[in-house]
Symmetry: C2
Subunit: 434 residues, 2 copies
């Protein structure tokens, strides 16, 4: 046992950083028992604007600094917790923390998704720990399972509802039959969506989280830009109605699958069977289904965001880091960039499809559509002609297909658009039988 | 790094032990990468009867021994995996493994539930690791979350479907409207229940698992005999019908709750709202809901048993032990028996109740029943008179109550039994609004 007291430096005193500070101070006795040593918050790096926060005024003034150098030169800091968020300057701070020999805990999904490999290599070189449990799924253990609990498995698939905002919007749409803009506005009013909601509704946040999970699960490097991504804004209330009639729910899923040395990684809306457990993950909750050769399926469910849940993960990482420091353990993971796996282009994936078409309301239309699908070797699983709009002389046709290559489907969609009887391809959503 | 190769001794070559051997041998390269050192299976302690198993005949003969002393004296064994099951001689083997300085991994819920505290103290004394992830929930990470991932939380509640056999039987009863003996027999035919099913259907298996989880979650010592226990054999098909009408599912739950320094620990059938996620945990699957002050609720779901899932947990523990040995980390947890918490007697708990009574089919019966409940300060939430049996001149009355002390309820039940109009208290099931 080298130390009976471990010093902590905290970067950021916003919603997450503030809550981390509260837990470290308020639960100091309990955490000391768990860690086997006391955890002492020695310095907090804040922005000038943070100094006006109520918490900042409660804390001893000499605990706070707005100066980078003062923070990094503070003696007795063994662990640096980064709770700033965003790519820069967080990335530079993390590098400086690691190269100065500190163990690092981060809750920053963007930096870890974009620079995790590089940071992990740096941490290994400097023999310090790098932990980021809070970057994915808030208080739900997700990083630890991939690093430790499931290591005996070959992970074959991840199917994750990993963004609370979009799941809240989709749940409201499913339950109330409202359209996307209405649900989004309500989510914004209630504080579940930001004023600029792009990061959530376009799947960017889910994309970062999938990059982190897939990199760990498949022991490779998946960058955010490697992941195919579609948001939820084009889902309509009709899609929910038809999906329900067909026995499906609609969720924004982050999907990673492995077959041999290739992987597929994608974030997009998906129809899933309504009796699957993931279909019951509603509201702001997250649900992450992991498939492996030994475990079959394991599902993790909980609050994927929020200051309390996130602080649970950050502080657990601090305790684990403190134990490692006490026991003289450096970096636990070996970075193996050579284990890179090929990422399939979308054209190569194969899945089922749901198709909603606005067509001329006259005989023979379905035959023309079926022919194009058949010519592309796509077989139809179900076809229903839905309500007709008599004024516009159009009818809605809803189709589902058996598993087909994405490439064939895209070609068929292109050909369907050319058909005179097809007024509009109203929607096109992938289907996963999980 | 002290070792580049870690030696493993395996005790038991039954269903679990055999699968562990298969994974250690078949995945040796992958596990070496994960552990940072090679994991070499050096000796397997078997019973004479195991020597006839196909796997035993595939393995080199000198890897197997039926002799205890030969096994324990084998040089180069750093980790001993116990996959024997049952209390004795597993308990003695584990003690011998620890006192001989080996790190220990066990999948044995009975020994850990009954003797975990003592074994942990011994492991701490000898500065070796003691791990038992596989003892609860098969491949679902459950021990690690309590030890590491959720340490920043004050755990306030555990609600667990933790026995696959009973959950399979209850699921069949719920779906098919069959009675318990029929469902049990079918489960036995399909191999989901043992010929002697007592351990599962009387809640003994769930009891062991709850003792292990509650001890970790509340940092105390909960012994199996501290836990109140009822099995599922008295649940009838009618209970499922009435529960469904009232919006509830019926599950065998292992429950642990904490209030201040008291805890309550109990295993019994429970009515839970049918829209709760636990109500969707069907068949042989397990679902464990953990409540904490920071995480709110986290749910873990998966296969709670079976050789593949169990081997996933055992081998993850072996990898973690190997990393600790390599880094020179002894026992990570401090055993704090002084942190004992008072276990509430059942009379002190407070919950809601479902009551099914067979009564005389005449006016005024409900008034008499209501009076007794009212006299005991138990307020009725719903009361329905169900179908009458004209020949026997009886009618069935189904009641639910608001939260009431168990002591008052037991007294009311005693008084109801004395009523001339009450022919039988057909069932009495607790209700939890989770």
């Amino acid at each position: 046992m080298k130390n009976s007291s471990i010093g902590i430096g905290l970067m950021g005193l916003g919603i997450i950083g503030g809550q981390v500070a509260r837990v470290l101070i308020g639960k100091a006795d309990m955490l000391a028992e768990q860690a086997g040593c006391s955890l002492v918050l020695r310095k907090i790096k804040v922005l000038p604007v943070d100094l006006d926060r109520p918490l900042a005024r409660e804390l001893p003034a000499d605990l706070l600094t707005t100066d980078d150098d003062e923070f990094f030169h503070e003696p007795g800091i063994d662990i640096i917790v980064e709770a700033i968020g965003g790519e820069s300057p967080a990335q530079e701070y993390l590098k400086r923390a690691i190269t100065s020999g500190r163990y690092v805990v981060s809750s920053n999904k963007e930096v870890i998704a974009k620079h995790g490999a590089e940071l992990q290599a740096l941490a290994q070189q400097h023999a310090v720990g790098l932990r980021y449990e809070a970057s994915v799924g808030g208080g739900i253990p997700l990083i630890a399972p991939f690093k430790y609990d499931l290591v005996a498995n070959e992970i074959t698939g991840i199917y994750a509802i990993i963004n609370g905002t979009t799941n809240y919007i989709l749940t409201r749409m499913a339950r109330e039959g409202i359209d996307f803009p209405v649900a989004l506005e309500s989510a914004q009013e209630l504080g579940y969506a930001e004023a600029n909601p792009e990061n959530d509704i376009e799947g960017i946040d889910a994309n970062y989280k999938l990059a982190i999970m897939a990199s760990l699960a498949f022991q490779t490097v998946v960058k955010p830009e490697d992941i195919y991504r579609e948001g939820i804004s084009r889902i309509g209330s009709r899609d929910f109605r038809y999906a329900r009639e067909l026995g499906f729910a609609i969720k924004l899923l982050a999907i990673a699958k492995r077959a041999d040395d290739s992987i597929e990684v994608r974030v997009h809306p998906v129809l899933i069977p309504e009796d699957s457990l993931l279909a019951k993950v509603d509201g702001v909750y997250n649900g992450i289904l992991v498939e492996g050769d030994l475990i079959d399926k394991v599902l993790f469910y909980g609050q994927g965001a929020g200051p309390l849940a996130t602080s649970s993960a950050v502080v657990a990482d601090v305790v684990a880091s403190a134990q490692d420091i006490t026991f003289g353990v450096g970096n636990r993971l070996k970075w193996k960039p050579e284990a890179g796996r090929r990422i399939k282009p979308m054209a190569e994936i194969e899945t089922q499809y749901y198709l909603r078409l606005s067509c001329a309301d006259r005989p023979g239309v379905l035959a023309q559509i079926s022919k194009i699908l058949g010519d592309n070797l796509i077989s139809i699983a179900s076809a229903i002609q839905k309500e007709a709009d008599e004024a516009a002389q159009t009818a809605e046709i809803v189709l589902t297909t058996h598993p087909s290559p994405e490439k064939a489907m895209q070609q068929a969609l292109h050909q369907l658009e050319q058909l005179e009887v097809v007024k509009e391809i109203s929607n096109f959503i992938r289907v996963e039988e999980i």
